[in-house]
């Protein structure tokens, strides 16, 4: 089972474009060797050369996400992401996507709590075109009610598909809301349905004017290009746009957590229960930031592969779980979570699985980690760095997320060094401080009644593979 991730991207198209993966810490590396400069209007530009295939990924990240929305207007960042495809004075609705497609490009966009990103993957000789188009909609979006009304319905259908049709997604939303009492991470990226239904066009116009400015955006170009090629194009298209004052990003602090919380979701459609837990955790930028690197090592010790602590104990030795997962993403403007997920083996009671996994978490919080575990985890994180530049897009995606949440290129390039410097004592201390009951929300996904679930499990049928062109649970 995949623990819910606040940063899990939601996006625009249902069809099989490139995914916006949640990048593992191992994908971060010095290997990217990016070159960076800043336009006169304050827009940062990052170029990552990779000359294997004559293609480029052109991405613009805006430093605005669902956590920047006003009360009562949740989901507006994502709604605006959709509307960015609805035309400008110069490029009418639908024309952007049409031009990208007839030029052999693939495009998409995605919204997270902290940023909104747009990208086109094209042959290198089409870079000029997509840059012109992207710069045009940065400044000249023509928001019309006639385009907005049907698109609102599209977003509502997207919400039904991602959240309302799926009990595990409904539970994820409840857990996040329970974890973040006061922070804007409280609400889901896609927003509350009742609020989506009540936006007016002016909300979008205001949001666009407030946040979509070159000085609040980052341009990333990765692939078969050099800075010498990118710079004149960036200056011509993006450099022509004026800077505007942009409000500060407010990530209201959480009050100190005082009580462990449990969210229980029972649904007659649940056939495979799951156990989930989130701990309120520091990111690179808020909370006990000194734990951000040790927690990445801890995540690898606990959940990295079949020889990790949790897999070995719960899946291999005790045979209570079919799968376990551990997650931690330090890229956030505000706080983040350290997450666990486990799926019981058929016939294993949830109580029994819960007791075992909680005991394991307590062991690590009280007893810490061994020198050997930490060395193995660091070695694996380090080795995975070499794979990061196998893909021409990975570097741009990693750096986009890093820069949009407040870290620097230098931070990113120092990642291997900082991970290598983590000590077992630091990991043990981070575990002790973060894996505390009062910081936690436990989420249980359960069948409506035990009898009903048993009957269904015997009589119903397993499901097939998804067809090509239809992505599964990782829509964007």
């Amino acid at each position: 089972m995949q623990a819910f991730h606040r940063a899990a991207a939601i996006g625009l198209l249902a069809l099989g474009l490139l995914s916006a993966p949640i990048l593992s810490p191992g994908a971060r590396a010095q290997v990217f060797n990016p070159e960076t400069f800043t336009l006169k209007n304050g827009m940062q530009v990052v170029v990552i050369s990779n000359h294997r295939v004559p293609v480029v990924s052109h991405m613009v990240y805006y430093k605005v996400g669902s956590a920047d929305e006003a009360m009562g207007k949740t989901g507006l960042a994502h709604m605006l992401e959709h509307m960015m495809f609805k035309g400008t004075k110069a490029v009418p609705a639908g024309e952007f996507s049409h031009l990208v497609a007839v030029n052999g490009g693939r495009e998409n966009a995605f919204t997270t709590a902290d940023y909104t990103a747009f990208y086109q993957n094209v042959a290198v000789d089409k870079l000029d075109l997509v840059m012109r188009l992207e710069a045009d909609r940065m400044a000249h979006l023509d928001l019309k009610d006639a385009n907005f009304q049907p698109e609102r319905q599209v977003v509502i259908e997207e919400r039904r598909m991602r959240v309302e049709n799926e009990p595990s997604a409904l539970l994820d939303v409840q857990m996040e809301a329970a974890l973040y009492l006061n922070s804007p991470y409280h609400h889901p990226v896609i927003g509350w349905r009742s609020e989506i239904e009540h936006y007016v066009l002016k909300d979008l116009v205001d949001f666009y004017r407030r946040w979509y400015a070159p000085n609040n955006a980052i341009l990333l170009v990765a692939g078969d290009v050099t800075v010498a090629q990118v710079r004149p194009l960036a200056e011509k298209y993006y450099g022509a746009l004026p800077a505007r004052p942009v409000p500060p990003r407010d990530r209201t602090e959480e009050p100190p957590p005082v009580a462990a919380r449990t969210v229980e979701m029972r649904d007659p459609d649940v056939h495979q229960p799951s156990w989930n837990r989130l701990y309120l955790a520091p990111s690179y930028h808020q909370g006990e930031v000194q734990y951000a690197y040790p927690l990445q090592v801890l995540s690898e010790v606990l959940g990295g592969g079949e020889t990790s602590r949790l897999y070995k104990d719960l899946v291999f030795d005790q045979k209570l779980a079919a799968s376990v997962s551990v997650g931690y993403d330090p890229d956030a403007v505000g706080l983040t979570s350290f997450s666990f997920g486990a799926s019981p083996n058929p016939g294993v009671a949830m109580d029994k699985l819960q007791a075992a996994i909680v005991a394991e978490i307590q062991t690590i919080a009280n007893g810490g980690v061994s020198v050997q575990e930490v060395e193995r985890a660091k070695q694996r994180l380090g080795a995975s760095i070499a794979y990061a530049k196998d893909s021409f897009q990975t570097g741009a995606r990693v750096l986009g997320s890093v820069l949009a949440t407040g870290s620097s290129v230098e931070d990113e390039e120092a990642w291997p060094r900082r991970i290598a410097a983590v000590t077992p004592d630091q990991v043990s201390e981070a575990a002790k401080q973060v894996l505390r009951d009062e910081r936690s929300v436990t989420g249980l996904l359960l069948p409506a009644t035990p009898e009903e679930a048993t009957t269904r499990a015997v009589t119903s049928q397993p499901a097939p593979q998804l067809p090509p062109g239809m992505s599964g649970r990782e829509f964007r």
């Binding site: 497609a101 319905q153 598909m161 067809p467």
Partner: protein, 439 residues
Amino acid sequence: MNPRRLLAVLVLCLLPGMPALALNVEPVKSPGGVEAWLVQDHSNPIISLSFAWRGGAALDPAGKTGLAYLVGGLLDEGAGDLDSQAFHGKLEDLAISLGFDAGMDTLHGQVKTLTANRDVAFDLLRLSLTQPRFDAEAVERVRSQVLAELSRQLQDPNAIAQRAFAKMMYPDHPYGRQVDGDPETIKSITVDDLKAWTAAHLGRDQLHIAVVGDITPDQLRPLLDQVFGSLPATAAPVTTPEVQADAKGQVEVIRRQIPQSVVVFGEQGLKRADPDWYAAYVMNYVLGGGGFASRLMTEIRVKRGLAYGAYSYLMPRDHGALAAGGVATRNDRVAESLQLVRQEWGRMADGGVTADELANAKTFLNGSFPLQMDGTGSIAALLVTIQLDNLGIDFVDRRPQLINAVTAADVKRVAKRLLDPAHLATVVVGDPQGMQAGQ
């Protein structure tokens, strides 16, 4: 096995297009006669190996569906002297990825390693293919994982719909069953079954291999013999019968109390080797294969906001084929969405595509092809698919001409042949209003 790998992986011949792209594919033959296609890329210290045997889940005996799938899940769970923990300990310590996946017509495998660990990686692959242990511990563990995943799919309306649709299309053929089996059959599979399958199907005559990355032909040749040389010369024959889809306009409604209905539909398609393949491929792009540009997306999403996505696809298998699609839409608008699907299906059948649509499809299908070559692993997997489809080592170079040769008349002909809204068969999962099962 990592349960996430148990999730659907469907490698189909839906290769998007490819323009002038210098991909230097070299045929390499080992002294022992094992052949592979190689693309050298020494820019990163990484090697990706992809391979597949023809013969997959469609060969599972009727009461043992999921057998090939379980084999795929267990080949990397201990081999030779290494039990599962020891085997995975080596893989994880050296950051080697190694895994297998059964499809309906094939068993696929892949290895990705740093150059420095090349010999260990290839040796672990040799062990997994020639001396898999199938220890009771691992078999029961992976069996539980598959059962848990099958249970999870019961709460996934997409999975429910796809399963029902496969059964509807192929009521009496292995394609109507599922690669990952069902609970009863998964429980019935024994260690002897797993061993027998492995002994029978991993023959060199059905094997296709591609290697991409930091390795030379001279380095690769002996490794091919070491890894694959001791496998049996021949595999058990592929006996899957040819089959036509049983599409006659029927509708099945599976009631679930969810706010959005998942709809899948389809009828008989055409196989990859069909002379009209490229015409059908272009047709599908225009109909529902290409993002916002497609007719289905325009009518259902852009104009009416009825769905987040509406799509069509071609699914050519070795012994049967579908032209199919799907849409997910609010319960009170299912009938309307389906009516639009039928309307567009019929409009394409009657009129084909316009000159503009044809030209746009060609530029997209050719221009976007290199975009999928995002890494050594994806290139290697692509080359294996090209081998399985018998397209030739120069396919990447020839593909643009094949696409460009398609005429509007070709598309019209193939659309008339394939698409008939009266035959379109449909499964709806949800609580659609005003819809009944029936013909």
